[in-house]
Assembly symmetry: C2
Homo-oligomer: 310 residues x 2
């Protein structure tokens, strides 16, 4: 593990902790092409572009992350229009990225592999840019278990489909299991922010991260389904008993990779439906749009509080 900034004499705290990579090869590369971001260490001055980043906010949908960047700009009083914060990754259509002061807003698509590609490249970007004191937060949508739709869940632990706090990966064909630790203090801080706002119900709970939206989450309405409503209910109730309050598709890899690279990370997802009551996302479009703004409200409040306290 290559520890950046090893020459510092101050004791390491959150605010001066550099982003470190778990790969000694990167420091020796002449050029590093961040292919899926369409950025590179030779064509872009990454320290100048990104050196002051303190918050990396990520979410699945490109348009949602564009809206989030605009919302951050208006709340922080930075820039007057969307044009002040253009998409940085115009050379590709894989992801979008916006920078508003110390806040980076990046899309990650759907599922663990897509999130992992973005994270590998954004973590390298932060390393090349010599960023320190960076916090990572996913703002997402999810299916709830036993919660009123529109409730927000702050993740205590990201767990797999067997309710274990593990992220399993195949590396050179062999199974490697990593922990999915999230930052407990950060989760608590976010919960307090929701209490400050008092606008929507928010709970802390475990988040189940699956590789599939249909069969992988026990849905009865996919193109394939080989189990009954009763099997589904038993599975979801067992998940609930294990502390799971919502289900999504990216939290475990975010937790595993940020933890490995020394970034405190959190996951804040709104629930679009209660899976105990159904599988289809059938709420009207404008209600869903309102729900999707809740993690954004919460996280912007958190960022403003952090910046005011800094």
């Amino acid at each position: 593990m290559a520890l950046q900034g090893g020459g510092a004499k101050e004791p390491e705290t959150h605010s001066n902790r550099c982003v470190r990579l778990c790969n000694p090869n990167i420091a020796t590369m002449k050029e590093d092409i961040l292919y899926h971001l369409s950025l590179s260490t030779s064509s872009h001055d990454l320290p100048a572009m990104f050196g002051d980043v303190k918050f990396v906010c990520v979410g699945g949908s490109p348009s949602r992350m564009s809206a989030f960047a605009k919302y951050v700009a208006s709340e922080l009083g930075l820039g007057q229009s969307g044009e002040d914060h253009p998409n940085i990754c115009t050379g590709t259509d894989r992801f979008v990225m916006f920078k508003v002061g110390p806040v980076l807003s990046v899309s990650h698509g759907m599922g663990v592999p897509s999130m992992a590609i973005m994270l590998h490249e954004v973590l390298k970007l932060l390393y090349h840019a010599r960023c320190s004191g960076v916090t990572a937060i996913r703002l997402g949508t999810s299916g709830g278990i036993g919660l009123e739709p529109g409730s927000v869940v702050i993740t205590r632990q990201a767990v797999d489909a067997c309710f274990k706090p593990e992220f399993e990966q195949l590396v050179l064909g062999k199974r490697v299991v990593r922990g999915t630790d999230l930052d407990a203090g950060l989760a608590q801080e976010l919960l307090q922010c929701s209490a400050d706002l008092g606008e929507f119900p928010t709970v802390m709970g475990n988040t189940m991260c699956t590789l599939d939206f249909y069969e992988g989450q026990g849905r009865l309405d996919g193109a394939l389904c080989s189990y009954t409503e009763q099997d589904k209910q038993e599975y979801l109730r067992a998940a609930h008993a294990a502390g799971v309050r919502n289900i999504e598709m990216e939290s475990s890899v975010l937790a595993a990779m940020c933890s490995a690279c020394g970034l405190p990370a959190a996951v804040v997802c709104v629930t679009l439906l209660d899976r105990l009551r159904g599988d289809q996302v059938s709420s009207p479009h404008d209600l869903l749009a309102k729900f999707e703004q809740r993690p954004q409200r919460l996280v912007v409040h958190f960022i403003k509080k952090r910046l005011a306290g800094a």
Copy 2:
């Protein structure tokens, strides 16, 4: 398994075979919301919109699938401009979809989970639209093993990171393994199309489908890496010895799901680099763009040939 069109008296052949789902629940649903496509059986007349679809062409990048739709339109003499074939999924930014005569061009994002979401919903769309004789083809990019960059690989078998022709999934927390059969006749037909064109090297070989682009494919340039160049070379050479000629991130779930639903499927990917010689995608942008057109050239030639023979 619910077999559609069971009342037909003709013997079932490819051209009259209906898309069937492996889920008896769908036939009994009053409404089916295809959430990530922003389509539904009550708001859209799916048989009228999609009943004549015969070719479902999918690829990761939305702009590539938009370009493919325009190319198909010009080659089939259908429509004069891009405006004649607008994106059908305007209500969402998860996927794009274009229809040009019998050809559907759909993006699937990156990785198995994103592809699976799109496939569940597109397979249900084809079922609701009462489509028959449909062929599915992925047009993708990949890393090659021992091939000149720009070579095209037509997949014989989609294999996992242990080189087995299996797709493993967690369903209700239990491991389920499905086969990854692709249509051998279709692959042969596509290989013949490349020979007809004679424009670029094309081989048939196994395709390794991984859940990660960096560690999962033995790259040395991710944010995390815990093995050596030698470990990587040994792994890739073992893959080559097992018949693997390229690596990508979606083929196995396409093979497994299309096979389960009675759709002949194929995977046609261009290789952007030779992984035995490096990890970074460093070719100039215009050369990569030229490479990406090759699967499109091949598949359009195949579609024209099929339509001429029909």
